[in-house]
């Protein structure tokens, strides 16, 4: 027993020594990380302030849970209603808009439900259900999953009751879900960022985009130090301020894949 305690203590000391480095922990979502945004953005912040930003990328639900537990200093997610609830419950300090992107409806090039070209995503969903064309859902309580459920509601469909074998609830992140959709030649709702950097497309392409209801807002929050005393308030706030600053916003806008901008800064709007 004594030996075990010694080992754990040694590891803690070693980690603490490493923690002499200035760093903050940011909980964000898989879609944000997989878009490659952080790899582009964070070195700019680190060079300016010397603060290392460590991003733990998980589903929105888990990111918020990490925040509630105090295991991160800052949250950057895209589920506005859940974020507001987070603040209301006292886990976070303030919620601010950072940037937005949009969702796109992806589908097979041969388009069995005949939805390509329409701007009405709710109508497209209705057609998919009528055609009973295969549709992959993330099913993981992520921001994207919530957005998808919203659209079913707008289309007047109670998806929980009306789904059939054509509706594949996979419980996976965006990347794996896209993999599944590519393998099944199915329709799937995705955020544009992940789609643009997704390489395993198979026969899939964007079939519907531009609907206002596909708007996807990202918000940033400082985890409440009143709740968790160890939160790195000053450094975390510095990161948030930078994201919302002209410099940070421009860096976000400058991030492109194949010449296409992924995220649109809208702080202070």
């Amino acid at each position: 027993m004594g030996l075990i305690r010694t080992v754990v203590l040694a590891l803690a000391l070693a980690s603490a020594a490493q923690a002499q480095e200035k760093f903050i922990t940011v909980a964000s979502t898989t879609s944000t990380e997989q878009s490659g945004l952080f790899k582009d953005l964070l070195p700019l912040f680190e060079k300016k302030t010397g603060i290392q930003v460590r991003v733990v990328a998980v589903g929105t639900g888990q990111a918020l849970d990490i925040g509630r537990r105090g295991d991160a200093d800052v949250l950057l997610v895209h589920a506005k209603r859940l974020e507001e609830k987070f603040i209301a419950e006292g886990y976070g300090v303030k919620r601010q808009d950072v940037m937005y992107n949009d969702f796109v409806l992806i589908g097979p090039k041969n388009d069995p439900a005949r939805v390509a070209g329409t701007r009405d995503v709710a109508a497209a969903f209705r057609k998919i259900k009528e055609a009973q064309a295969p549709f992959v859902s993330r099913g993981d309580r992520s921001g994207t999953h919530f957005a998808e459920l919203e659209i079913w509601k707008l289309a007047g469909i109670d998806i929980a009751k009306e789904k059939g074998a054509w509706y594949r609830d996979t419980g996976q992140g965006m990347g794996p879900a896209l993999n599944t959709a590519a393998a099944m030649n199915a329709y799937i709702l995705s955020d544009r960022g992940t789609w643009l950097s997704f390489k395993n497309r198979g026969e899939l392409a964007i079939v519907v985009e531009g609907d206002r209801r596909l708007f996807n807002q990202y918000g940033v929050m400082l985890v409440n130090p009143a709740r968790h005393a160890h939160v790195k308030t000053a450094m975390g706030q510095a990161f948030i301020d930078w994201l919302l600053s002209t410099e940070g916003q421009r860096a976000i806008a400058d991030y492109k894949i194949n010449g296409q901008q992924l995220f649109f800064p809208n702080a202070g709007s």
Partner: protein, 230 residues
């Protein structure tokens, strides 16, 4: 085939990043095996040599723990190390330290159970002679450990294989943070989920090559030493 070639090419492009990932994987898994060995070998030796009430239950439990699902261990260690948990003060979550702890927990039963088996067989051969020479349990256990060192290497390699191959535990307690807690297995999982299958494959082959190299080295050491000591 071309996917593999493409993958290896992409992997070689990664260069510094890949080097960091490989180094971290080795650091975490080897540290975990070291800790599990320091704790597990004496445990295995004790179980092999000492007779006590409940010994059989302990052995059955230990054997069963070899099959602990990594993701469950990851979750449990996560709950322990989280700020909201009992050991939150240590600030170990999302660091390589947490990954080492989780993997040590996974590997410890393997080393203890396999060494117990090897040492029990050895004890059957050595017991009378060692007791005749006056070695009491503790001294005898140490002698056994040293004498059975070649079969014990196999137990260590099994533990190392388990640590190097698992992704569930290190993903949860490490957070797969770029440049900090990203190891080979979590990198492979990430690239797969991004749809970058050639890169994932390439990384996979590097991992396999690494484990093969470690095993080959261990075999070499074993054979050379066996020739010297019989």
């Amino acid at each position: 085939m071309s996917a593999i070639a493409e993958g290896l090419r992409r992997v070689l492009e990664l260069d510094r990043e890949l080097w960091h990932i490989v180094a971290l994987s080795l650091e975490v898994s080897l540290s975990a095996v070291l800790i599990a060995t320091v704790l597990g070998l004496p445990l295995g030796a004790l179980l092999a040599v000492k007779r006590f009430r409940g010994r059989r239950s302990v052995i059955v439990l230990l054997n069963a723990l070899m099959g602990l699902p990594p993701v469950v261990v990851g979750l449990l260690i996560y709950l322990l190390l989280s700020r909201a948990g009992p050991l939150g003060e240590l600030g170990l979550l999302f660091t390589p330290g947490a990954m080492i702890i989780a993997q040590s927990v996974l590997v410890l039963p393997i080393i203890a159970a396999l060494s117990r088996q090897a040492l029990e067989d050895a004890w059957r051969e050595y017991e009378e002679q060692l007791r005749s020479l006056g070695a009491r349990e503790f001294a005898a256990a140490l002698t056994l450990l040293w004498d059975a060192r070649f079969s014990l290497i196999t137990a260590l390699l099994a533990g190392l294989g388990r640590a190097a191959a698992e992704v569930g535990a290190v993903m949860i307690v490490g957070g797969n943070i770029d440049g900090v807690t990203r190891v080979m297995t979590t990198a492979i999982a990430l690239e797969t989920s991004k749809g970058d299958l050639p890169l994932a494959l390439g990384l996979g082959f590097v991992l396999i090559a690494l484990v093969l190299a470690l095993n080959a080295a261990a075999q070499l050491v074993k054979e050379t030493a066996e020739r010297r000591f019989g």
